[in-house]
């Protein structure tokens, strides 16, 4: 059932003038209007839109009036100077106190140093190499390329062996897609995570799935931006498998967990390396919808570069409390999926080439027919070479009492 009224309303809007259409495009889509960041201070009207804001103002006015009355009662009677009479020389108009100075949008913080022009262009070139295929807003990427000083005291990008890591998680899209770029003599070696998201854990394995390194996120230096970073060092040239757990804490009903896994290659030269990653996510906020309420679980898998030859993938949904593969729920699925006798959902991977590919598939669980419990959804990626036979990433989710 689509939103017919909305489509009809859209019909009236679709003829809006060309200049307005182009003006509203964001720069990442070729919009010419540079979107100047707006001060993060709350606009006055927002303040007044809350009842307490009005109450505060009323209280201040009342205090001022009362103070005035008391003050007047304590003063000797003096004649009010006639209109036009100059005020005494000692009195000067009080300057309005300056409001808190906000740093300019592009001004680096104390802990941040902008990359030099040379470095920036180098990084941009790296980024732009994959831009067309990855739909990453270039502005966002450019703004992310800063050097930072971490808790370890190292200027990232100057790690002992000169290997750096940079990842950028695309903001504003769901699910988020981390783009991973490995560089030698790298500019930076952290992963920025979009506002509201937290990197809970990362793991690095070698290709035999031996754990090489793991850790939790390093809280970002600029807490206002809610930036989370994690740092990986001393990874020699070669292929590495990484998994990353990211949470979005938007309250009980908006809590999302994203799992990412990807293969990254560390190259000798500072060029874009191959990335391959996939993720599953469950977003309860988005998918509890209308009359036909359902949980919708989305998988997004992406790959690019020479290493890609993925032939298929499988879902597996397990009830973690009973360890049973779930087969009894009513499921609907993408036309390219099919369910097998043992409860595994198979999908046909539509790409098998060296081209970048992003494929999103989905399945939904009927709201009423899915009992409360703890579930794990596993996505099994099947590259042709068979070198990624791991049961990661997975997505655990909880279904509470139905409301």
């Amino acid at each position: 059932m689509t939103n017919e009224k909305g489509f009809a309303a859209y019909t009236a809007l679709k003829s809006v003038a060309d200049d307005l259409v182009m003006d509203a495009l964001l720069p990442a889509d070729g919009g010419s209007a540079v979107v100047a960041p707006i001060s993060k201070r709350r606009p006055v009207y927002e303040f007044f839109s809350h009842g307490w804001g009005v109450a505060v103002i009323c209280a201040l006015v009342a205090i001022a009036v009362m103070g005035g009355i008391i003050w007047a009662g304590q003063q000797p009677d003096i004649e009010t100077p006639p209109v036009g009479m100059p005020i005494s020389p000692g009195e000067t108009k009080k300057e309005t106190p300056e409001t808190e100075q906000m740093p300019a949008p592009d001004e680096p913080s104390e802990n941040e140093t902008d990359v030099s022009d040379t470095q920036e262009s180098e990084v941009n070139a790296v980024v732009l190499h994959g831009l067309e295929r990855k739909y990453i807003p270039p502005k966002f990427l450019c703004n992310s390329t800063t050097l930072t000083e971490g808790e370890d005291g190292l200027r990232h990008g100057e790690t002992a062996d000169g290997l750096g890591f940079e990842g950028v998680m695309q903001s504003g899209e769901t699910p988020l897609l981390p783009t991973v770029i490995w560089v030698k003599d790298g500019i930076s070696d952290y992963l920025d995570v979009a506002e509201g998201y937290t990197v809970k854990e990362f793991k690095v394995y070698d290709m035999d799935m031996q754990l090489v390194e793991s850790g939790s996120a390093v809280q970002g230096l600029d807490s206002e931006e809610a930036v989370n970073r994690f740092i990986i060092k001393k990874l020699p040239v070669g292929k590495w498998y990484m998994s990353l757990r990211v949470e979005h804490d938007g309250g009980e009903m908006h809590h999302c967990v994203y799992e990412y896994a990807f293969i990254a290659e560390v190259h000798e030269s500072a060029t874009v390396a191959v990335t391959r990653h996939c993720s599953v996510s469950l977003d309860r906020e988005r998918y509890v919808w209308g009359e036909d309420r359902q949980y919708l679980v989305t998988l997004t898998a992406s790959a690019s570069g020479e290493a890609l030859d993925i032939t298929g993938g499988r879902w597996k949904l397990i009830n973690l409390e009973t360890d049973e593969i779930v087969t009894s729920m009513q499921m609907s699925m993408d036309p390219m999926c099919s369910i097998t006798a043992n409860g595994t959902l198979s999908i046909v991977w539509p790409y098998s080439s060296e081209e970048y590919a992003r494929y999103t598939t989905w399945m939904s669980l009927a709201w009423e027919e899915t009992p409360p419990g703890k579930y794990r959804l596993i996505w099994l990626l099947e590259p042709a070479g068979g070198d990624l036979a791991v049961q990661d990433p997975y997505c655990d989710f909880y279904i509470d009492a139905h409301t």
Partner: protein, 179 residues
């Protein structure tokens, strides 16, 4: 290559026009289609259809702003395709934005007066409010993405959108439209 040069290729019936269109505006068209369809294969087909439609429309049409022209075609084709394809698999964010739009604009097909009123209303808005409104309801950007781009919180964007919708609704009702 400038818009005018690309349009000249269309007028000359030179197929290079499509290649140049794709080179200059391909990314914009693709992201426009993706925001509605959320499926790369569907979006690719949609963009191909948009190029074909541009090829068939120019001439006689001679768009003043080629980018807007292509954006509009792509958007309309994507919406049409979305309606045809997505009976079950829905783009929730798009559905939400359409619902919000229906709160402030009456369902009217090809109403020139209404179109002019909306145009006048939008031009009277403060720049940021207008960009947020069209970004959300024309280009289908998510609130989160706009919040990031404009350096605002998501709540602030939502609040501004709400206020603009209310203003538009009041404005159109004052002009005699029933919503």
């Amino acid at each position: 290559m400038t818009d005018q040069e690309i349009i000249s290729l269309y007028f000359a019936r030179d197929e290079q026009a499509i290649a140049e269109t794709s080179r200059v505006y391909g990314s914009m068209c693709m992201s426009t289609a993706m925001r509605v369809l959320d499926s790369r294969p569907d979006a690719e087909e949609c963009v191909s259809d948009a190029y074909l439609k541009a090829w068939n429309s120019i001439p006689p049409e001679k768009p003043r702003v080629l980018g807007a022209f292509l954006c509009r075609i792509t958007r309309n084709l994507a919406i049409t395709r979305y309606r045809a394809l997505h009976r079950h698999k829905r783009n929730r964010d798009l559905e939400l934005s359409l619902s919000e739009l229906a709160e402030c604009i009456p369902a009217a097909e090809e109403d020139d007066t209404l179109r002019d009123l909306i145009d006048r209303f939008l031009r009277g808005l403060e720049d940021t409010d207008r960009r947020l409104f069209l970004g959300r309801y024309f280009h289908s950007y998510t609130v989160r993405r706009m919040a990031k781009a404009y350096g605002m919180t998501e709540n602030a964007v939502s609040l501004r959108l709400y206020k603009t919708r209310e203003k538009l609704r009041a404005y159109l009702e004052k002009e005699g439209y029933s919503i």
